[in-house]
Every structure is written in C-alpha cells, then in structure tokens.
C-alpha cells in the first residue's frame, strides 16, 4: 500500500485547464444536470405553450395565426429546443424509474444507459423536428 500511495502525484490542484479539459462530468452526470435544466426550461416555457394552445383553439383565425407564428424561424428554433427538453426529460425520467427499481445501477450499465438517454433525446428531437419542418 505504502509504495503505491507514494508514487501517486498529489495533491491535484484545481486550475482552469483542469476544470476545462481534465475534470469532466461523467455521462450520467450530464443526464442528471440536463434533466434538471430541461425541467426548469419546461416550467418557464409553460406560459408560451399555453399561449399558443389558447390561440390555436380559440378560433379559425387564431389557429391560422398560431400556424403562421410557428413557421417563423426563431419560433421554430425555440420550439425545437423545447421539444428536445421534453424528450430528454422524458427519456431521463424513464431511466430514473428503472434506477428506482434497482435496474441498471452498476457503473457500466449506468454509463451505457446514460449515453442511450442522451442519444434518444436527440434522436427524438430530430424526428419531431423533421415532422415540424
């Protein structure tokens, strides 16, 4: 133990390069923080979604207006971000439900499913994006 411990170079100082290039959040960590960020975003965007739903169901004119509004590039982009937030939150949430049941809690599986969740969120966004365009 003593010789192995002595060979280690330490202490490890935190530097900007270390923070930027050496210390990285593991994949499940990314799933987690994006789950939180997407949840917060969805909460804040509620007013916008309700506004569009309100207009689109109010009248024929309102529906056409909403349709036209959703075709604006910036609106489409915003909606795409929101779709991603929903899809990621959905997929990550299902992963957490499995983790609650003690499924996939070992490191290897957790990393694998973390990657799957991020990929699935992006793939679903691309799919719905293609449908929107």
């Amino acid at each position: 133990m003593s010789s192995a411990a002595a060979k280690k170079t330490r202490p490890k100082y935190l530097s900007l390069t270390a923070l930027l290039f050496e210390i990285r959040l593991p994949l499940p960590g990314w799933v987690s923080i994006l789950h939180r960020a997407s949840g917060a975003l969805l909460f804040l965007a509620g007013v916008w979604v309700l506004f569009i739903l309100d207009r689109s169901l109010a009248s024929q004119d309102g529906f056409e207006l909403a349709k036209h509004y959703l075709k604006l590039p910036l609106v489409k982009l915003s909606l795409l971000v929101l779709v991603w937030a929903y899809c990621h939150h959905f997929c990550a949430g299902i992963r957490y439900l499995f983790l609650d049941l003690d499924k996939g809690v070992d490191l290897k599986t957790a990393r694998l499913t973390g990657g799957v969740v991020i990929a699935a969120g992006l793939a679903l966004t691309a799919y719905f994006g293609a449908m929107l365009w």
Partner: protein, 114 residues
C-alpha cells in the same frame, strides 16, 4: 427547535412518490398525444378543435395538467432548495412558483372548457 427522527415519518417520501406517479401519468398522455398527432388526421382547425372537444381528451388533458402542476412544484422546489440559500428569498421564490403553477392550471381549464 424541531426534533425530527430521520427514519420516523417518511419526510419527502410523498413528494418522491408523487413525482413518479405524476411522471407515469404524463408519460402515458404524451405517448397518446404523440400517436394522435403523428398518425392521426393532418391537423387543421376543425380536427384540432374536435380533438379537444371530446370528453376523454379534456379529462385526460386536465389530468395531465394536474400531474404537471404537482410534478413541476416538486421539481422546481428542489431546484430552489438547492440554489437559493437565503430563507426569505427562497420562500418568496416558492410563493411565486406556486402562483405561476396555479395560473397555468387555471388557464388550462379556461382553454379546455371555453
């Protein structure tokens, strides 16, 4: 001084469970709506209006909104508890969040039963 027994009264367990039950409800609704939108008729105003005029869709959407409200409350409160350290500021933020959520639900009901 409040004395709490950590294992005594399931503090937080109800929120934890509610978060999961509401998530499951919303997941089912999401899949149904996605299927309707993707594989149903192309969405024109009459189709859209008639979809939300049906009783089951109104009730399902209201159930979704109620689930979302509870789910969002637990989630956003967790975020505020993690990052807002000042007690008064945290309480104020939580009150604002509750009002916003109540507003969302009220607006949803107004939209559905116009």
């Amino acid at each position: 001084m409040v004395s709490r027994v950590v294992v005594g009264a399931h503090y937080g367990l109800r929120d934890w469970l509610a978060q999961r039950i509401t998530a499951a409800i919303m997941a089912v609704y999401s899949v149904i709506v996605a299927v309707v939108l993707l594989f149903g008729q192309p969405i024109s105003y009459p189709v859209w209006r008639d979809l939300f005029a049906q009783g089951w869709m109104r009730v399902a959407t209201l159930l979704f909104a109620a689930s979302l409200a509870w789910h969002a409350w637990v989630g956003v409160r967790d975020i505020l508890m993690d990052y807002v350290k000042h007690d008064g500021l945290r309480l104020a933020s939580q009150v604002v969040v509750l009002l916003v959520i109540a507003g969302y639900v009220g607006w949803t009901i107004e939209i559905l039963w116009r």
